[in-house]
């Protein structure tokens, strides 16, 4: 049997090779799934941790516990330490991530101190943070080597903050009375002043400067205090910092479960990454859905391909099968023969497929946009044994698709097989039952419904609900059903053309139209395949471009320029006089920023006052929490950028208006509508004191509206606010833009943001390097390049770009292979027929003409139809699907982006394949010797 199969495969090696390619690709897509899913999920999880760190400015994976221990319940301090250690050990037993750092502080509070030089009584806490000496440096004095001085005073250390606050110095003695033992006095000698050795050390999650009423003592001192104060309680605080990069997505659910149980069992516990894990799980669901629905069309395409090639092989072998059946081979035996052949091919395919799947996954993960491969770090995407399991599933499905067509054919004997009428005009079941029209109707209905609910869908996505896969699948359903309908129409068109010209057709046209019409339904499979690949290729390209472009445009719009940052040298001075606080800012030297321009790093730098807490009022109406921008109009115009077409007029016109009048203001459209004001009217804006605890309004400034804008650099009209129940609502941001000088002169100089436009070729790093050289600290650094790059690396966008790129390339490959196979086989099958035509005296150019005609109606029409269906799908569905990625309302509404380059690429490949096909046909025909062709027919 093996010999027979080997011969069968060898005889049709090209077709079997194509089948193998189909299987390898199918296995690759399947095998890629677990690897890509895990990698993307890990990327999602890491991003969630990093975002937490960025937003909250704290370490994102901390388990913290705070508890007071009654001294009398413990034998000694060690017992308390042991208990704290036991907690940490227990946490680490369940959460396998390594400890990055940990700290345990033990504090005896309630001491009243009087220093030798000061009579003021101060409340102090005496304690220690374990292992503190490794994380501090001495500013003054020395580290105590013993607990007590010879005369019984305790050595202690104080922070710079305490030193400054209380004016304490090294060597000074503090007499302390403990609230529980008022009569007894303890003496502490300040041995040294300390500061934390690093400001990026997680150990100091609570900075040393925050311990404002603490004197630090060695652990031995605490032992003595413990012995001395049986009625006291010790406040213990411990924090465990975990290496979150070691938390794998697969552990998220289990860890969340453990952590929730920890919290339930221990009220003193706080875990800052529980919410991160929860929201990750929600996002992971969506990512899974997106990955699945994006892979599905590609899988369907590959299965169609496998089915098509195996049907082609079967068509060639059906005579052989019929002979076998006539010679007494049972249907089961024939099935087994083909099953074994499929198993052998699949077995060969699984290893290659898994390997290819690995490579494909790494490439897809490395995409930085549609069809854009980059050399970025893809270490999160690692091989997993599950790939073989998925590859195995792919093989089983492939085997089914290869052997199912045999089932029908294996029942025919040679007589039945010969009597089959293959060229009747019998319509396939889906055409007879108008299934194509029905499916198209369903798809359009679903589209209509989804479109109607697009706002709610967007809100649900923002709230973290997982994505409804039908939104995506419906687009595929549309492409498929529309393809079938177009195919039906193409059939009608061909029949109509043939009917009109039939009487006058030359023999070549006559024969070719009959060939096209009579094989139209058999060839329908190729046509559907062509329409599907072209339309989904186009759709994928447009979808990816739209998503990427809109995303980038929004990111760039939000930042408004290349870099936004604040200088950390600002100093707010507050003076209290006669019960009132007076404030003023020390403005840092601006010279270095002018140097940035001179050095050629920045094209322009400008100062912008940004205030998000401004009141705007007209008559009795006041709107709170509005946004104010104070700008130097000319510089701002040269620094900021705004996409064209977002306002009725170019935004420079508004700037020009503003420049002409010091008291003029530009306002946003929503503000104008809410307050019922327009150009020429006046509004008042009020800023508040920069002292945070204050709610003191500064001078109210009246401005005359010179322009109303829909969009302005850095101004996003919509803001999403989450209520206590976790529901999101959209709120509108309102903007007023005034002249910088007016804002400063009326409200005082406040901290401003620096907006920078980089010179061509200059990078963010050059700016930060330069400022570092000048010893300038940077706060709130935002860079357009970083934000775009981050947004591209988000797991959802990564999945989509990766999958679309992969699907697009696979579509091209299988479309080309499918096309070539079909036509070459169709040529080979008709060699006798061409021999007859030639023998009957048909000139070779008529045969070429005939084939060209067939190519036009059989391939070019479906290719063009595919283009049309892809374009229609793009117009209808792309905006809806882009909503899944960009659910938030924005000044920039989602627009469809179509890159001509993609279309050219797709059609160039398709036409190259058509040309190659024509070349092969020409080669076959020109080599054909009529007598031999006829001889072949006889054989």
């Amino acid at each position: 049997m093996f010999q027979f199969i080997r011969r069968k495969i060898k005889n049709k090696r090209w077709l079997n090779l194509c089948l193998l390619v189909g299987i390898v690709l199918l296995v690759a897509v399947f095998a890629c799934h677990p690897m890509f899913e895990r990698g993307a999920a890990n990327q999602l999880l890491q991003t969630a941790f990093e975002n937490y760190a960025l937003e909250r400015e704290e370490f994102p994976a901390v388990i913290a516990r705070e508890e007071s221990y009654q001294v009398e319940e413990y034998k000694n301090m060690q017992e308390i330490y042991n208990r704290m250690d036991a907690y940490e050990n227990k946490w680490q037993e369940y959460i396998e991530a390594e400890e990055v750092s940990s700290n345990q502080s033990v504090m005896f509070s309630g001491f009243t101190a009087i220093s030798a030089f000061q009579s003021n009584k101060r409340f102090f806490t005496v304690g220690c943070i374990r292992d503190m000496q490794e994380h501090i440096e001495l500013v003054d004095g020395s580290m105590p080597t013993e607990a007590q001085t010879e005369d019984g005073a305790f050595y202690c250390l104080i922070s710079e903050a305490v030193m400054d606050e209380y004016g304490l110095v090294t060597g000074e003695e503090l007499s302390m009375t403990y609230s529980l033992y008022k009569d007894e006095e303890l003496r502490f000698v300040i041995a040294g002043v300390i500061r934390q050795s690093s400001y990026s050390d997680n150990y100091w999650s609570e900075p040393l400067a925050e311990y404002k009423k603490t004197v630090f003592v060695p652990e031995e001192t605490l032992d003595i205090l413990f012995e001395h104060s049986p009625k006291a309680s010790v406040a213990c605080n411990q924090q465990l910092f975990l290496n979150y990069t070691q938390i794998d997505c697969s552990q998220a659910a289990v860890y969340r479960d453990y952590l929730e149980q920890f919290i339930k069992a221990d009220g003193a516990l706080t875990i800052n990454f529980l919410e991160t894990l929860k929201s990750f799980q929600q996002q992971q669901k969506s990512a899974r859905v997106v990955l699945f629905v994006l892979e599905l069309p590609c899988i369907v395409l590959l299965l169609l391909f496998i089915y098509m090639v195996s049907s082609q092989i079967l068509a060639l072998e059906e005579g052989e099968i019929a002979v076998l059946r006539s010679r007494g081979v049972t249907r089961k035996q024939v099935m087994n023969l083909y099953l074994l052949q499929s198993v052998l091919l699949s077995a060969a395919g699984i290893f290659l497929g898994v390997l290819l799947g690995y490579v494909m996954c790494r490439c897809a993960a490395g995409t930085d946009g549609f069809l854009k491969f980059s050399a970025k770090d893809v270490s999160l995407y690692q091989f997993t044994w599950k790939m073989f399991l998925y590859g195995g599933i792919a093989c089983v499905i492939a085997i089914l698709f290869m052997t199912l067509p045999v089932f029908g054919r294996a029942k025919l004997t040679i007589v039945e097989q010969k009597g089959l009428n293959r060229y009747s005009n019998k319509k396939p079941f889906w055409q007879k039952g108008f299934l194509d029209v029905l499916l198209l109707g369903v798809s359009v209905y679903l589209f209509y419904n989804y479109n109607k609910q697009s706002d709610q869908i967007a809100l649900r996505i923002i709230e973290g609900a997982s994505i409804d896969p039908m939104i995506f699948l419906n687009a595929s359903l549309f492409l498929f059903s529309c393809g079938l309908v177009v195919l039906r129409l193409t059939g009608y068109l061909i029949a109509a053309v043939d009917r009109i010209g039939k009487k006058r057709w030359k023999p070549a046209a006559y024969a070719s139209f009959l060939q096209i019409r009579r094989t139209f339904h058999r060839q329908g499979f190729l046509s559907v395949f062509l329409i599907m690949t072209i339309s989904s290729g186009l759709f994928d390209a447009n979808m990816a471009r739209t998503m990427n472009e809109n995303n980038e445009q929004r990111v760039l719009y939000d930042i408004g320029t290349d870099i936004r940052m604040t200088d950390d040298r600002w100093w707010l001075q507050i003076v209290k006089s006669q019960g009132q606080y007076y404030w003023s800012y020390d403005e840092p030297d601006y010279e270095p920023y002018m140097e940035l321009e001179k050095e050629g790093i920045c094209e322009k730098v400008t100062k912008v006052i940004e205030d998000h807490k401004v009141d705007i009022s007209v008559k009795n109406t006041t709107l709170r929490d509005c946004e104010l921008l104070g700008i130097h109009t000319k510089e701002f115009g040269e620094t900021a950028s705004l996409l064209e077409g977002l306002n009725d007029e170019h935004w420079f016109n508004a700037l020009n208006q503003l420049a002409q009048n010091a008291d003029a203001v530009i306002i946003s459209r929503n503000l104008s509508e809410e307050l019922g004001v327009s150009v020429g009217d006046s509004i008042g804006y009020t800023r508040y004191s920069p002292i945070k605890s204050d709610e003191i309004a500064l001078d109210k400034v009246t401005g005359k509206i010179c322009a109303v804008v829909d969009a302005f650099p850095g101004y996003n009209r919509y803001q999403y606010v989450q209520d206590e129940e976790g529901n999101y609502t959209v709120q509108e941001n309102r903007l007023v833009v005034a002249n910088y000088a007016t804002v400063v002169s009326r409200c005082g100089l406040t901290q401003y943001t620096l907006w920078m436009k980089l010179n061509k070729g200059a990078s963010d790093e050059q700016v930060t390097e330069y400022l570092k050289e000048q010893n300038i600290g940077i706060n709130d650094f935002k860079s357009a390049a970083d934000m775009v790059s981050e947004s591209r690396s988000s797991a959802m966008i990564q999945i989509t770009n990766g999958m679309f790129t992969m699907s697009f390339l696979i579509s091209l490959l299988v479309c080309s292979a499918g096309f070539l196979i079909y036509w070459i086989m169709s040529m080979k099958n008709r060699e006798l027929l061409f021999g007859i035509y030639r023998a009957m005296g048909m000139p070779i150019r008529d045969i070429y003409g005939m084939l060209l005609n067939e190519q036009f109606f059989g391939s070019m029409l479906p290719i063009l139809a595919g283009g049309g269906v892809g374009a229609l799908g793009t117009i209808l569905f792309v905006k809806l699907l882009a909503l899944v990625y960009l659910p938030k309302k924005h000044n920039i509404a989602i627009r469809i982006f179509i890159y001509e380059g993609d279309i050219w690429k797709l059609f160039a490949v398709v036409f190259a394949v058509v040309a190659l096909c024509l070349f092969v046909i020409w080669k076959l025909l020109s080599k054909m010797r009529i007598a031999e062709a006829l001889k072949l027919g006889e054989d």
């Binding site: 024969a511 094989t519 007859i836 009957m840 027919g937 006889e938």
Partner: protein
């Protein structure tokens, strides 16, 4: 009697893979008169199909010449030979070779269009289909007809455009003896009515008597010539 085809010192040889040469036809000289039914008889591999192919310009001789209706094939271009085949020749092939995507009617129609038939095609098709007794089944697709019926359609197609010479390569090869005999008789009768010359190859000894002239070929040589009158 006027000659339809004449071959002179016709030779055909092929170079095999091992560079040795095999001679399929060795100095064949035959004459076929107009309006006759000539049978080329021989075993499989004797060279009869090769000879037939050269007489109808489907193959080129290595040496010698073929004169067809007074024209030397050697002096004709490929296009002229194509024209000859289109207008002057009709074919019936061993493997039936109807165009599978066409019905019986369309197969004949195609041949008429190819030969640039200027009369009423529908009338002519009905006429020849009537002659082969398949008028009632002329709209059936080729594979819905039996082997004998298909061969009758092939004959109708071969004679429809009124060619001067009809070449038939083993027209009964795929049929049983009785059906074969019936087909050749029909063939002969129609050809007579249409006034065509028929050249036919066969290995079936039962058909010999039907031919006006029978050439026997063995190993590429004419080994016998019988004239039935």
């Amino acid at each position: 009697m006027e000659m339809a085809i004449r071959t002179e010192h016709l030779r055909k040889s092929f170079v095999l893979g091992n560079k040795s040469t095999i001679e399929v036809l060795k100095d064949v000289n035959i004459e076929i008169s107009r309006g006759s039914l000539t049978i080329l008889k021989g075993r499989s591999g004797s060279g009869k199909t090769t000879l037939l192919n050269m007489m109808c310009s489907l193959d080129e001789p290595t040496e010698g010449r073929v004169e067809f209706l007074g024209k030397d094939f050697g002096g004709l271009s490929a296009r002229e030979k194509e024209k000859l085949r289109r207008y002057k020749i009709g074919f019936v092939f061993q493997s039936v070779a109807l165009v599978p995507v066409m019905s019986a009617y369309e197969n004949v129609d195609f041949a008429l269009r190819l030969a640039g038939y200027e009369g009423d095609r529908n009338k002519r098709i009905t006429e020849v289909m009537d002659r082969v007794g398949l008028r009632a089944r002329m709209n059936h697709m080729a594979n819905q007809l039996s082997g004998g019926e298909q061969q009758r359609v092939a004959i109708a197609r071969a004679v429809a455009h009124r060619p001067e010479v009809i070449f038939a390569d083993e027209p009964t090869g795929a049929l049983d003896t009785a059906a074969g005999l019936a087909v050749v008789e029909l063939f002969k009768e129609i050809a007579k009515q249409e006034g065509a010359t028929i050249v036919m190859t066969t290995h079936d000894p039962n058909l010999m008597e039907l031919g006006d002239e029978v050439y026997e070929i063995a190993d590429g040589e004419i080994v016998g010539h019988i004239r039935n009158h």
